[in-house]
Symmetry: C2
Subunit: 228 residues, 2 copies
């Protein structure tokens, strides 16, 4: 039935793999919609259970708490994005061209994609934009990091940073540059929607504006003005 590719995330994010059961898959699909609707702070397993016609206890068998569920969702997204990037750039020889393709994917990653179904991609992307940084901006970062909960994000940054290194081997900050660009892609979209004075996008071409802004940022950093 489901021919969609299987995205794997760190198993320490869940107690039981939600991909393996019908209830688990519904949990994921419905939680994406509910978190998108009411926000992470208002989201509870009780509300999710009610909406799914299931029970709190059942859901707690999949995830320790909602924070881990968030970690799962965003990790899943990073892994999916990484797959998208590999897929769309695997036979592009020029690093500069590959980098531009990646930037395009980063800035319009919320469009629905036929390979993965059952999931509201647009809602998931809104969750990534609004909530993903809360996965690591906690007092427990170091333990969570030790447990490998952020590795999908690290892999993504490392993959893209490698393209930067190929293009500009002398550039000293490839990881910082890419983590900045990835975060900015989300933040600028959020600002465009909610705090427009923090950005400079035209309302009817937000994504293109963000793309152009980030392209200038990225390639500007890699080809600096001659030190006079």
């Amino acid at each position: 039935m489901s021919t969609s590719l299987r995205i794997e995330v760190n198993c320490r994010l869940y107690l039981r793999d939600p991909q393996e059961t019908e209830l688990g898959r519904r949990l994921i699909a419905e939680s994406v919609r509910l978190i998108d609707e009411i926000g992470l702070e208002q989201f509870t397993f009780r509300k999710l259970a009610q909406r799914m016609q299931s029970t709190e206890a059942s859901l707690y068998r999949y995830f320790e708490n909602k924070h881990r569920l968030l970690g799962y969702l965003v990790s899943w997204y990073w892994a999916w994005l990484r797959f998208q990037i590999r897929f769309h750039t695997h036979n592009v020889p020029a690093a500069a061209r590959r980098l531009r393709l990646i930037l395009e994917i980063l800035t319009r990653a919320h469009r629905d994609d036929p390979t993965t179904t059952e999931l509201d991609e647009a809602a998931l992307y809104r969750i990534v934009v609004r909530e993903s940084s809360k996965a690591y901006l906690t007092h427990e970062v170091d333990e969570d990091n030790q447990a490998g909960l952020f590795r999908e994000y690290k892999y993504l940054v490392a993959d893209i940073a490698r393209v930067v290194q190929e293009l500009s081997p002398a550039y000293a900050y490839p990881h910082a540059l890419i983590s900045t660009v990835v975060e900015a892609a989300q933040k600028q979209l959020f600002f465009a929607r909610h705090l427009p004075s923090l950005t400079d996008t035209s309302p009817d071409a937000t994504e293109q504006c963000i793309y152009c802004f980030l392209e200038g940022l990225l390639f500007g950093a890699l080809h600096p003005p001659e030190p006079a």
Copy 2:
């Protein structure tokens, strides 16, 4: 007694101005320390009251909830930073030089400063780094924005963007560039401390590395390579 400058923030952030009473000032000072220690999620007014030898009810007379308190603290920080920037750049004619000074302030803003006392600046800066984006990454952004709760941040970005515009009037994304740089200054510091594979800083010169990275980013964007 207190000769320190008075930082004003949007009065809708609080129910009663905490600067005006002894209890209010203790509230601020102690909450900075406690949030820094245990993180925003674990922080409650009950714990703060216990630590201050006061009561929950008294503290709720100053702030509606801990989210507003966070908003107050980070707004205070942005206002303070803006003052620092004005103070240190007010008689520097060259926009490029002013921009570099601002970048320096942004990347070492957590050093203690003699003009403001009573407050643990280093702890406040750690709070800004870890928690500030949670002030606006909520489901209620739009209402909070309507109420003007983010105006200090907007003012700061607008101020710096004006310098960018002076330096490069043709550049199309001054606000996006500055909001990106301001956020990156914090994020890269957080990454350096907790998720070092997302950055490229040497452990003994983190701030300098971040400064150099951001300088390249900022001026690279403003002086793009000639379109061949």
